[in-house]
Symmetry: D2
Subunit: 344 residues, 4 copies
């Protein structure tokens, strides 16, 4: 399969290159960057020296790139993918967008939270979270790859939502991410001395991953879901831990909670259920496509607390995209993703 | 004032030494350690070289130490202070315990959560959180210095509890601490390569700071308070950020929330109200006795989210102890604590 | 090939498991640990959950393990491998020791620096640094895998020593390592809060990697080599950067220096020559078997400064061991090691 | 004393504000920033909230600021101080420049290394390293405050240079700094995810602190000094460790080395001699004006290795400036600087 990556100089793009290097069924044929057109990717990312000879091209030739690719991975800021999607609508090439443009069933929600008009609202698209929407992903033209915080949050709560074990208006997701989640552009807020040995929250009650989590959990449960989502910045490079709270419905026992997780995930390779009372850590999944999940039940408050850990650049971005690609292309879902985390 | 420190080789003890070095009204006369008796403190803590000549003594001489001290600071693991308190009951020396032994009104709660019998249940004692219990601290014989997580959590929520703006059964405190909070003894879980570039939760629904937060908020509000408290370990040395969630009662407006914080804290030097919509960061209080507080209101869920940041070793331990000491000794509350955080 | 790992619970052992997971020609059949005998490796190292079912055995059955293995990797503290080597002398199994026992031509040097008697001095052995001693490794019974600091240092200086461009008595190696190099046992010195936001040197003029570097450079150059080696601890998990200084002989030009590196390494896959004036960083090789090398020439002092970066657990330990294994077993040297570093 | 700070929004400027907050003899009256004119410093640096009401002014009014100040601290990028110095020549105000403009005896050296013409070459000035040039600092009009790397390096080597114990052409300084040394402007190279868990060198053989170290050591020894200086970036916020190598002259004994350090520094409050065989760490001086020094002698190579640790923002910048201010103003040298490091 010939694959191309738009926006290859961001961290998600670079991670796609890392993972595709060992994918036996795919070859990266085009990579683009508007600010580095003509440069070798190994000059931007020295860790790729000796491993990739590719030079960065411009998006201007998107039709040519589309014709020369079986799959296109879009790792551009939100608002850019819909233009690409429109232009490539009639080509056979398939699209996996790592941004938000194609994640929403209802583009009005997208427009409200992203403050931009959606110019391709009728595009045929599916939400790219393999464990929940595998069937739909298989034949999709456009896959709106799930976001990083959202993947950790949705996977943590989906079994409980699906089995109607929780009050879907009581959900609180307190999430923590390494700094690579904020992208590769230097900003005062991401300057090393500012973050090192510090911890803070941001975008409380206003983060754009909120409606995405609500949408997926509503789809799974059939109920309206209304959550609080609070992201935090951890002084580390990679990793997300989501701490999710929900009120259990009357009569829900610990065993019912256990069963919900087992029922949904027992056969999922990339989801590792640590069980009730356990503790995932971001380092145990670092560099890998795994999502580690554990849960706790507090009899005093009759709440369930679910903990989930992912690598934001893998299961939260590039790894998930390749998992979706494998499904869409008809490969074994683990192809190119079957390796251990990097520890310590 | 002659002060002594029991358990001076732990991080809280060392921080007391750092802060007392610039306290104009106090002199440290005795320091103890059972495992390092006879050694110079500057050999244990090289940052104190040239600044302290003190040698570590044994606790065995506690009566002699008690007679030679106006105040004794106890920085021992829980369960040890009550024996000391009993022995010193009839001496004029006053006690500030940085552990949990004297924090609870009801020792049955202590015994339930700490799994140890309380051997000094009738001791006259006050809870050492100056901003809420200043009046009681003034004349106290024994001050049970508030804990690190609890200080951040209680200060964040007390104004809302006092003004009855929140459902006190809906409170969730998701707290994050630097690793110094786990003490100075090396353990596999605190080994550098295990924690670096990693993030995890621990003691979900079972952490001992839970009943302490509930007690103080109940005292302030007159209502029963039932919370979920979840601690997390941040790969950094110092600092706590508490993210606190509560359901606002019907009809509570943002302005009422603002007013509650202002009413309680406007005149408090060590509490810096950043206001509605702002973001504290642990680095902005590092090394200092400040507690920075901000709050957010989510109109979608009608919840309030309060963020508070402290340095766990200062406002969460040694600084708070000295603030309590200043009150108890009749000094200006800021004495020895009026300096800026260390940034970056 | 059936391989076994003695001392699998240390960081080097765990890294062997990580790397062998994707090695198509090898299967790990036995792993040992005396302190965790009977436990599942995935319980010790949760990042391996779902990927390895192996349980830890005891070394007591070393002959049985030896009979059931084609290769044995020893990841034990120094002093333990020689006993194993002796016991397995007459079995066909081959040995790759990641410790120091079999690294020295002259066991008197080993005994002087390691303060232990060598009990297997006559063992047939080769020094396991593939780029320099590939030919000898091919048929070896026992391979004394090169150490972490030594690998970075020797690879940086070998071309200059071989071509006689430097005064071999002027060499200074100032090396910096992440904390995983100190092993997995918690010690006060490696306790998270002690190291975080700190930097220090250790074992100045006395570190055991000194004679190992001298031996290899002497072997390459035919001259006596006498160096200063200074290790430092960087507050990070992985990675070594060696900054190597040497006085250039009279008349040595920058071009001669460039040529020495090219001549020795142009065809080496795992050595990436960044060239004169460039800067390797540990992060650009993290998780991989690469050694990135650059050099600078100071015309003011007529010195050459060579910079080399490796991942201490890969090219400095487990990756190098597998590279040696590939050579010894007749596989392509890159087998199981041909992947990109993990960045950022 | 009325003091003003030009360039108060950089890290050195902010550190001056931190330290002056507790200086009993000085009041900060003006602070400037061209990019933040009119803003409150506490809005730029939230750690100063509640502690400083000052607003940032523009440099354009430098004469007015000069007339209203007893001392002016310049914390601007190099090349800007000389213009200020010229304009204030005839006012009684005295100047402490934290940049390089006034550090060199010979402005030709400045021009060669800084690539800028010196427009105030005849200014009366002294080099601001108190332990070596205290006498000259006392009455100086302009003090060229010593740089961060240079302070650590010069203090480490000065005793040996002064006593002629080392070959002054053999000196190598391998120095490591936290990232705050690179300033507050976000750049790709200082973006958090790029540096975290990474280590690298920069400006090998070309760093501008090289001639400054050579000048000071030449002044002390009377001999020409020619060094290699190599800076490295440590993934931490604060701190410098300098590892300094020199060949001992024939016949120099360890005792002579010990005596050289004692002779020069025994009475210096801010220099803590740890002695022969010891190890300074940056964390033991963090936040303080101390310079911790230890040394090692390698009998194999007859070299001395000196280790020195400072906080780059204190003894390497703002603390040193205040120490110089205290001397120049006739105060006790420790005024405002007599406190313990912040550990852990």
């Amino acid at each position: 399969m010939k694959v191309s990556i738009l926006g290859a100089t961001g961290y998600a793009g670079a991670e796609l290159l890392r993972l595709f290097y060992n994918h036996p069924q795919a070859e990266v044929v085009h990579i683009t960057s508007e600010s580095h057109t003509g440069e070798a990717i190994a000059d931007i990312y020295p860790h790729l020296r000796g491993l990739y000879d590719l030079k960065l091209e411009s998006l201007k030739d998107i039709e040519a790139i589309g014709k020369d690719s079986d799959f296109i991975f879009i790792a551009l800021p939100h608002g850019h993918a819909m233009a690409v999607g429109k232009k490539l609508r009639d080509l056979p090439v398939r699209i996996i967008d790592l941004g938000a443009d194609y994640r929403f069933n209802d583009t009005a929600v997208y427009e409200e939270w992203y403050h931009v008009e959606h110019t391709d609202p009728d595009a045929p698209r599916v939400y790219g979270l393999a464990e929940l929407f595998r069937h739909e992903i298989r034949g999709a033209k456009i896959i709106g790859n799930a976001g990083c915080f959202t993947t950790a949050s949705i996977l943590a709560l989906a079994p409980l939502a699906q089995q109607h074990l929780i009050d879907t208006h009581s959900v609180i997701v307190d999430a923590k991410s390494g700094v690579s989640g904020a992208g590769r552009s230097p900003k005062p807020g991401n300057h090393f001395p500012e973050l090192y040995d510090s911890f803070t929250a941001y975008k409380v009650a206003t983060h754009r991953h909120t409606p995405e989590i609500e949408q997926a959990l509503s789809d799974v449960s059939g109920e309206e879901v209304l959550i609080n989502f609070t992201p935090h910045l951890v002084p580390m490079s990679r990793g997300i831990l989501a701490t999710c709270y929900a009120n259990l419905k009357d009569g829900v026992t610990p065993e019912l909670v256990d069963a919900a997780f087992t029922k949904m995930y027992a056969k999922e390779f990339f989801i590792r259920l640590l069980g009730r009372g356990a503790y995932p850590a971001t380092k145990y999944v670092r560099g890998s496509n795994f999502c580690d999940i554990a849960w706790h039940i507090d009899p005093r408050t009759h709440r369930v607390i679910v903990l989930s850990a992912i690598d934001n650049l893998v299961k939260g971005a590039a790894g998930q995209a390749i998992q979706n690609f494998n499904i869409a292309a008809g490969f074994d879902e683990k192809t190119g993703l079957d390796f251990t985390p990097v520890y310590p």
